[in-house]
């Protein structure tokens, strides 16, 4: 990992907003993180720790209250086509067929219909849904829909994939399958991935590094590097050890914030 260049830098990111009781709530506090090119980083934390907010700030969907984001040395302030976001749910356009959903980003760039369909088809192949090109999202299972969402994000050839609990709404079996597929795609396409999840198991299975956030305000409790070779065996002793370790950190983080 060491020799890969740093691509995404979060410098002192903070976010606060005025909550319901008109009290200022600090959601994120002084987040510093460097993500290397081609790295798979998970942001792990309990719900309400601001991990989704962090991802939305990186994607340019929310503004930070303080700090900066650098992509290859350039300051990012707003949506940037070099990063694509994958949402948990409701992200496909129900009036578009699968192929036209995948081609959406290319269409926005002004690519010709024939050309963008061909391109979209490549990514449809990548996620193994060639037979469903002409189907509508409501005709697909939850797992298939997320595959389409991944294909759509990849189609615009982003440098970084931002994934916001993308498998959170799926059943355990589908979830495991999609995790394996995601790793295959990641290895094939060599994208950088920032993956938000609340599942320790998921984070340890997928990531090169796991960033553990504390709840309210979200701060980085620890960054755990995972050197296990892939594909990882969930039942292996080493996997269990790392899982235990990360879980302890998460629980500590939760406990310390309550004080």
């Amino acid at each position: 990992m060491g020799e890969l260049p740093v691509t995404l830098v979060l410098k002192d990111l903070s976010k606060s907003f005025v909550g319901e009781a008109k009290v200022e709530v600090e959601a994120l506090s002084h987040i510093n993180l460097e993500v290397r090119d081609g790295e798979f980083v998970s942001v792990l934390g309990p719900s309400g720790c601001g991990k989704t907010t962090l991802l939305r700030i990186i994607a340019g969907l929310d503004n930070a209250s303080g700090g900066r984001i650098l992509l290859d040395g350039n300051v990012i302030d707003g949506p940037c086509p070099r990063m694509a976001m994958i949402f948990q749910e409701y992200s496909l356009y129900p009036w578009r067929t699968v192929i036209d959903n995948i081609a959406f980003g290319l269409e926005m760039k002004g690519m010709e219909k024939q050309q963008r369909r061909e391109k979209a088809f490549e990514f449809l192949e990548l996620v193994g849904l060639v037979d469903f090109a002409g189907n509508y999202p409501y005709e697909l299972s939850g797992g298939m829909r997320q595959r389409v969402a991944v294909a759509r994000a990849l189609a615009i050839d982003p440098q970084i994939l931002l994934m916001d609990e993308p498998f959170g709404a799926l059943d355990a079996q589908t979830r495991n399958m999609l995790q394996r597929e995601l790793l295959e795609i990641w290895e094939k396409t060599k994208k950088t991935v920032v993956f938000v999840t609340h599942s320790v198991d998921e984070a340890v299975f997928l990531s090169d590094r796991v960033v553990v956030l504390t709840p309210r305000p979200g701060t980085i409790r620890d960054v755990v590097s995972i050197d296990l070779p892939r594909p990882r065996e969930r039942t292996g002793a080493e996997f269990a050890r790392i899982r235990r370790y990360v879980l302890d950190h998460m629980e500590h983080a939760a406990a310390s914030s309550k004080v």
Binding site: A84, M85, E89, Y90, Y93, Y138
Partner: protein, 254 residues
Amino acid sequence: MRYLRFLLPILLVVGWEAASWIISNPFILPSLTTVIPILLHPFSPEFTLGTGSMVENAGISIQRVGMGFLVAAAVAIPLGILMGRSNLFNDFFDSIIELLRPIPPLAWVPLALAWFKIGLTSIVFIIFIGAFFPILLNTVDGVKSVKKTWLEVATTLGAKERQIMIKVILPGAAPTIWTGLRVGFGIAWMCVVAAEWLPGISQGLGYLILYAYNFGQTNLIIAGMIVIGVIGLLIDFVFKRVERRWFSWRGLER
């Protein structure tokens, strides 16, 4: 019991014939045998007291509704999109719309006459009022119901404001807007009949049935009513077909 739905209409027809035979006063209840010939000769001017054939009258009514309806859609849809997108616009227009909406379209008739005099403009105005509010309110609803994630996906995929409007907001709101158009058209069709009772009008289905009343031709009144009902039904059917064809995803967003 697939055929049960036909039972009541058949009983009604039989009861009608029986009643008209007992009453034996065609002004109160004419026999169906005097109504059906009118319906069987829609192109003939001989059955309509010299007002032009049934088809001609229907064509004129449809034309009037079409005009009022199109103007209503052309104003209500853009305004609805603005109001759905911007709270500023919404707050600005909302109170006046809530104030005007409960006024029945026909209550506008005297004012329409004062403003536009007797003639086509007044009729089109009444129809406009009838169709306007359902289209507007549904458009606002439709635009507001566009999922935030749809917009954010477009933003992260590099869509510009104009592209988001055309490629996300409009198609996302389209099913609800279409419902507004359908309801609006239904109300417009009801309004045209009454609007054609305005003084100085000499054609149209509404005019025809009132004119028939003046001549005591109840069979023509009933034939006219049936035509009005059937046309309304057919147009609603077309709206529903389009809805099923294009907007079948509605309610299935996942």
